[in-house]
Amino acid sequence: MFGYAQCRHEGNSSVKKSSILELLLIPALLTGMPGSINAQDAPSEETISFFKLNCMSCHTIGGGRLTGPDLKGAIERADEAWLVDFILDPKGVIDGGDPYAVELLRESRGVYMTKVPGIDRARAEKLVKLIISESLKERSQFAGLEISDRPLTDADIGRGRELFMGATQYENGAPACLSCHTVSGIGGLGGGRLGPDLTNAYDRLEGRKAVSAWLGAPPSLVMQPVFKDHPLDGEEVLALVAYLKSVAESEVGVAPVSTLKFVLSGFAGSAFLLLLLDFLWRRRYRATRRPMVRNRHHAAMGSKS
């Protein structure tokens, strides 16, 4: 019931909340907890929205793990400098053989954390500070999307399919999934080929929560700028999750349209079009002299024989 849009709404009003945040932070200072921060370090609105856009699809703070680990208490598992370095270059740290990083990779079933576009050291430090401060809260604003966990119905699947195919428009004007993605069982020419085939996306992301998180704020380089201004609402996310789940569960082996078939149908289509144009313009001018000479020769040869 509480979609992503609502989360964003809260984000917008975070300035008002900063005073409350300060009050909450005072005990933290007194107890001398690591990552001590003072009022000047209160996370800016900009950092909060950065986190929402770039981190929330894989991480929660206190909402359990998605693709990536729950960041609540991350500072207890690794020190601040390590976190900053990891955010700056996740793959580098992992490939560098850092034992904790390798373990994280294993926990994430081999999914590398992506390097966030536009990240720099100052921003990474602010993010870590934000994680620390949010970890202290009873309930962080980043505890995850509040997507209803009611059972998925056939109606949800139907609506999800309509949204995927573009038959129903998204509330906020986001483009239909079909324009870039395909799934099995949509027949014909399949969907777009810019993005990956989503037939097994539900399995790949391991379940409802992660898929919801992804859809709530698509983090990929291509999707992020598109969906930044056109977020999906909670109901839409739920319907899509239901649809992707049903697709993933449907019988295996219904492969999406093969590339060969796609290319061949393209050739057939062009051939048909050319023949059609040739027919429509059948009375067009072609040539005068050559046919004239040829016909004459034919006639002459015919009369001789």
């Binding site: 429509l280 001018y285 072609r286 040539a287 002299r289 050559r290 004239m292």
Partner: protein, 487 residues
Amino acid sequence: MVFHLDKCIGCHTCSVACKNVWTDREGTDYMWWNNVETKPGTGFPTKWEDQESYKGGWKTDGEKLELRSTSKKKIIPNIFHNPSQPSLDDYYEPWTYNYDELFNAPEGDDQPVARPISMITGEPMEIEAGPNWDDDLGGSEVYAANDPNLDVLSDEQQQQMKAIERMVMFYLPRICNHCLNPSCVAACPSGAMYKRGEDGIVLINQDRCRAWRSCISACPYKKTYYNWSTGKSEKCILCFPRLEAGEAPACFHSCVGRIRYLGNVLYDADRIKEAALRPDDELVEAQRDTILDPHDPAVIAAAQASGIPDGVIESAQKSPVYRFAKEWKLGLPLHVEYRTFPMLFYVPPLLPVMSISDGDIVRSDVDELFAEVEKARAPIEYLGKLFSAGNVGKVRYALRKQLAVRIWRRHVTVGDVAEEMAKKALAEADCTPEQADEIYRLSALATWDDRFVIPPFQREMAMEMMTDPHEHRASAGFGSREEPRRS
């Protein structure tokens, strides 16, 4: 303009003069702004008269005048390819020879040869056709046999035209007709084409031409050409730089047979539309009606009121074109049925029976020498199809008058024709002895000044008629005009 076909010897000097002056550049090599065709024949480009294929000129239902090549309905479906244009092969693939190999070949057992090289691809090529491929009835069983104008003849007449010793041909030099009602101008979507106000020369603005090539389809005479190098269309400009300097156009000036006459006429532009709606057989007369008598005081007054300079009116009074086309009714427009009202008038060729082979004897008696025009070798129906949209009477009139002038001159100079008989012939041909002498003088003795009456061009004044120079004062500076070429 008047071309006196009875005097054309088919030497192509005009074509060569024009080619050397204007179309000796890359992309224009296949163009012949002036060309000389043999009739019967298919001409250049091949079968240009076949408007079923090329869709040139105007068509009318008697109420509306429409371009045959395009219309509002046809524009969109044909937007990427303007149809009905001659292919390169219908013109010809221009070529040269690699003369270097001829002159610089090493010593060897074989005669060195120069191979034909395409001027388009630069590769050696097989020559299939040229601009005068059917010159002097060459390849006539293909080319002359396919002359679209032969349709009007019976099979018997066609066979006669092909028979040895009966065979007939004449030359038809062609340039842009600088029509009164030019379909090329009407078809241009860019508004690049215009008919010059002061002298009626039809021109293509090279800055505004956008290579739609609509003019090429629309011109029934196929006298606009596409320059594939600059991406602009080009056509005969009637050597206007020469005209403005008081010189005759290159093809006129170089004409060996002195068949060409140039002069201006005053015409009533308001009558053109009505004239173009008339049925085919009335078109010659309708066009003549648009041409006004420059001696008529009312016409002179109206011309002066329209701002036409006195010098132009004076030269219209001396114009040989007015005399041939309007006064003497000898000049006839080529294919007036295209309704563009060509301003080039042809004096049809007489082609009399000059001698008769009678067994072993060849006779050329006076009686036969000046036989009836119906006995002329070129069937009059054929000439009628070319020069009077099938109205044979107009051609017959012009031929009989020419014949009468000859009989009269035979009487005057040789004296073996009785005056009575000569005068009778003149009277029958609607001609007086004075007129006959005039016709003779302008046909046979005309000097440069008689043949070319070039009006004094007053370019600055002409410009002021169309636009007020003060309007652009202080608003336009120096600038570079765009060179016509592909970007």
